[in-house]
Point group: C2
Chain length 216, copies 2
């Protein structure tokens, strides 16, 4: 089954036509996002932390210092929500009311566990590194045992999820079309600039293509 069942947890109630439940829609959004936002409860208090992530099958990995609040909360097994959003453009309508954003967002729900084995940790760190820049893992120095021991990794098993997206032009009502107000879409995207070499870089080393030609 590729679809997550609709439940009270993941169902898109507002503008339900924008909701999607298929892994084939949700997972590419998670994978395209450079960062995600992890929500957990610290007692009664919700906390939302931005972090890097990577998805392997139905598992989402995040990493950090083992003593970080976020990792401790995730590995405690408490319920977690992870959200990622891609902004594709601003929708300028004739009326304030119809202004909107073209976006693709994914929300996943699950429970966390600690990743203890070196083998799964390395797989997760490879996935996170490749999620940031595909091709980097083979070039960079791999973690030493000491570095691995000082890196905390948490796995979140994705149990429920949904995507919500908007695309296309503004949806002004007929009676507003005669207003002399510019309307349309302003596309937005994440663009990479020129790579800035570290001042201590050895002579003659150029940025590889996956950096010099970086695209998301």
């Amino acid at each position: 089954m590729s679809e997550f069942p609709k439940t009270t947890l993941n169902q898109v109630n507002r503008k339900p036509a924008r909701g999607q439940y298929d892994r084939d829609v949700i997972y590419p959004l998670l994978d395209e996002a450079l960062i995600c936002f992890v929500g957990f409860n610290d007692g009664e208090q919700p906390v939302v932390i931005p972090t890097l992530h990577a998805r392997v099958g139905d598992t989402l990995y995040v990493h950090g210092a083992p003593a970080s609040r976020m990792l401790k909360m995730i590995v405690s097994g408490a319920p977690v929500c992870v959200t990622a959003a891609l902004v594709d453009g601003i929708v300028f309508a004739r009326s304030v009311f119809e202004h909107s954003i073209n976006y693709r967002s994914a929300i996943v729900f699950g429970h966390g566990r600690a990743v203890d084995s070196d083998e799964e940790k390395l797989c997760a760190l490879e996935a996170i590194t490749e999620q940031v820049a595909r091709g980097r893992w083979k070039d960079a120095r791999r973690p030493t045992q000491k570095e691995l021991d000082s890196t905390g990794v948490a796995a979140i098993e994705i149990e429920s999820a949904s995507a919500k997206t908007r695309s296309g032009p503004p949806a002004d009502p007929e009676e507003d079309l005669a207003l002399p107000v510019w309307a349309g879409i302003l596309p937005l995207s994440i663009q990479a600039g020129l790579p800035l070499s570290d001042s201590k870089l050895l002579d003659g080393i150029r940025a590889p293509e996956y950096i010099a030609g970086y695209r998301r």
Copy 2:
């Protein structure tokens, strides 16, 4: 007092040197971010929703359908966390371990309330519209009473907050500097493309400068 007191809630524990508590640092980050991520509890379950926002003084406004789960939860007065993150670049180090992201993030904590008066609602909608594109409010058709009535607005009073930022080059240890691996920064930024006029646009209307020359 411009600084939020450090408490167990807002204190940056991991890499404390990256933490800042001054409104003069935190608020410009919130204002620069196009979207934020609102965390609340639905029972035991944390939920994180991406949305537009605007800050007026120590108040953060969000809007949506009055019946949306997010707005209902916020106006219930339960604790809320709102997080925004700006990604400035990818930090490529010689080792996997020292890879990082240059970022500026803000986390705010507070409690919500419903915005009931038309006057405050209009102020909030103006702030949100201007947060998306400065200059838009004066050009677009203002909300009718019916539109205003069908728009829910919530205010979150910011009670505690912190910012966390990283900038600068990779921090490889001395012994890695001899590795023949490219290291440095790849700058990332949000770029606007060319405005796409709506197919039903009246002849002769051009995108105003705050759209054609859009920058964040």
